[in-house]
Homo-oligomer: 380 residues x 2
């Protein structure tokens, strides 16, 4: 074992956020089971489970954790961990359940770099994501702004991706309406990307929150935006796609919202407009709710089963004690003939999310193996 | 009894089309039961059932039937009756079933004045209605034209109302694409209304069909357009609303299409456009299918259960022999406590459409009465 940073959970999480590319399901499961400090120390010693150690690549031997924490502090940012009161617990629970149920791309974040005065848990208790094309038309930007302004006036936080076009219009109107807004970035919270939005991003840092899973200084990369999209989707009670071409990042965000059971909305536009073609397809093939006003959006997110009021609950998180149950879980895994996770859940009498997380950990530890989505004990 | 015209069914139907305002359910039921000649003679003698005689108003004593038939012939038009091979039998059967099932505004026509070379039964075997705002935008007219052209190229007849705006754009493109087009009018087939469309309507009369329930010379009146809309809806396998304000005639046509079990489609437009507000509401509240291309329309009307090929069947029409069954039906009507039509249908073992038509006739004859939608024998 090799100590990481000052040995604190925060240092461990900072280290992990730089060492293993965010969105890694193995890391989420392993940290949930062993705790961040032990996982970071294992990996930093080169002793982690093979698949995770591979995911760390060449970065395992470096330790910039304290440097990253200082860099964050210098720009007024903080590293939010699941133990913080401000952590959006309901949201990460939802993501965990979805990821365990098979929505591979919904794995919860293990930590969040946050820059701005907004309390994330409170700000996200009533939030809607508005996303869309970077190459938006005047029509799209107008509608995005109109919706964001209406939401701001009703104390609903506007979540988006900080990009040009629809994202920027939504953030700007939310700020202009005196409302909360959260930009979820695919780069460090000290990097204003795209540069053309630097004034806007600075304003969000001053009045709302910039959020990222990547450490300070991390560069914007295409794949990071796709990984980031699941957070935008999770942060909103619903996601509104304002303008989207047939292939677009906004539609990937809508896909994550659907995976998470969130409401997926879209703004119809001219059928002659390429930037509305994705919206039409969402209406035709994906059952997206057509919306044209803030009232429509509010009606959609207030569907039965979705509570606009923050959920009052204790700090206990299901799964915290799972490592104690790993033995019991292992007992439930068949030795030869692979069984699906649901069957193992029934045998072990554990809840399905815990079972899948536990199985992933047991797999990382080499106790079980996965074959075509079914599980059995590892040979020997 | 007083003979009407030359005593032929055609003269009787011509006389009825001028004497009783089209869309009258009593007339449809009574003619279906007694035949047009006898009904016309009763009314022309002032001896019809009170409600029908009232509907005829002061016009019962006049007889312009032969004059109207001549006027039609002079402009190259004909009076189509249910006995003609060209009569769109399937469509009027569908309307009759819907009217009997409670869709009051779907009563079938008793006769149709037709002007143009198209055989109505064949032209309507594959047809789609395209309707929308008179005060259309360039966007709406473009899309209506694009859809109509695509349908024309696939030998699908375009049905509309001959009005300015969307209707006109749809007719024009269908003609331009060499396809069939039918304009269903709310005035006589010799009146080109609106005047601004007179060239277009003349072209339709030359290459497609102008259709009306009103006799030659009948003036365009607001209520007639609403009554007419059910024919537009029935004539298409589906109805596409291209642009519609929140209140619009096009939406009444869509309502009739829904009553008839036809596919209701709408073209999304900018949510900022008042002429697309009705389309958005149709998407949100009425389950209209969003369409943006001819392929979308063809996909929608080819849903299972809707046969694009003309239905091959004999000339027998259910209900032709109903008058023979009226006695049996009357036996099934309770003497005191009113019963719903379905209960009477069960007792009488007649099909529901025949029962409702028969009850209406029995009511006209004074044998039964209707109380809050339930039926019993008339006292005395």
């Amino acid at each position: 074992m090799t100590r990481v940073g000052d040995g604190s959970p925060a240092a461990a999480l900072a280290w992990l956020s730089r060492t293993v590319e965010p969105g890694n399901r193995d890391l989420w499961a392993y940290v949930g089971s062993l705790g961040a400090v032990e996982v970071a120390e294992q990996l930093h010693a080169g002793d982690g489970p093979r698949r995770l150690q591979n995911a760390a690549g060449e970065r395992w031997s470096e330790d910039r954790s304290l440097h990253d924490l200082e860099a964050a502090a210098r720009c007024g940012a903080r590293l939010l961990t699941p133990d913080d009161d401000e952590w959006p617990r309901d949201i990460t629970d939802l993501m965990g359940a979805a990821a365990s149920a098979g929505a591979q791309q919904c794995v919860p974040p293990i930590a969040l770099w946050v820059r701005g005065p907004m309390s994330l848990a409170r700000g996200l208790a009533r939030a809607v994501a508005i996303v869309g094309a970077r190459a938006a038309t005047g029509y799209g930007e107008y509608v995005a702004g109109d919706l964001a302004l209406g939401l701001a006036e009703r104390q609903v936080t506007v979540v988006s991706g900080g990009a040009n076009g629809i994202d920027g219009a939504a953030h700007r109107s939310a700020l202009g309406g005196g409302g909360g807004t959260v930009a979820v970035l695919g780069c460090g919270i000290d990097r204003f990307y795209p540069r053309s939005n630097d004034l806007l991003l600075a304003q969000i840092a001053q009045h709302g929150a910039l959020v990222s899973e990547w450490p300070p200084g991390a560069a914007a990369m295409r794949n990071r935006f796709l990984v980031r999209n699941r957070l935008i989707a999770a942060f909103g009670l619903g996601t509104v796609v304002v303008e989207a071409a047939l292939r677009s990042g906004a539609r990937s965000t809508a896909g994550r919202a659907r995976d998470l059971g969130r409401v997926v909305m879209t703004v119809p536009g001219p059928v002659t407009s390429a930037t509305s073609a994705g919206c039409l397809q969402m209406l035709r093939d994906e059952g997206a709710v057509p919306v044209g006003s803030t009232a429509h959006v509010l009606e959609a997110i207030a569907l039965p089963g979705i509570d606009l009021a923050p959920d009052e609950r204790g700090a206990d998180r299901p799964g915290d004690e799972l490592d104690q149950g790993l033995g019991a879980l292992l007992d439930a895994v068949p030795a030869r003939r692979p069984a699906p996770a649901e069957a193992i859940a029934r045998t072990s009498a554990l809840a399905a999310p815990e079972v899948l997380r536990g199985l992933t950990v047991l797999e990382l530890m080499g106790y079980v193996q996965q074959l075509d989505g079914r599980w059995r004990r590892a040979p020997g």
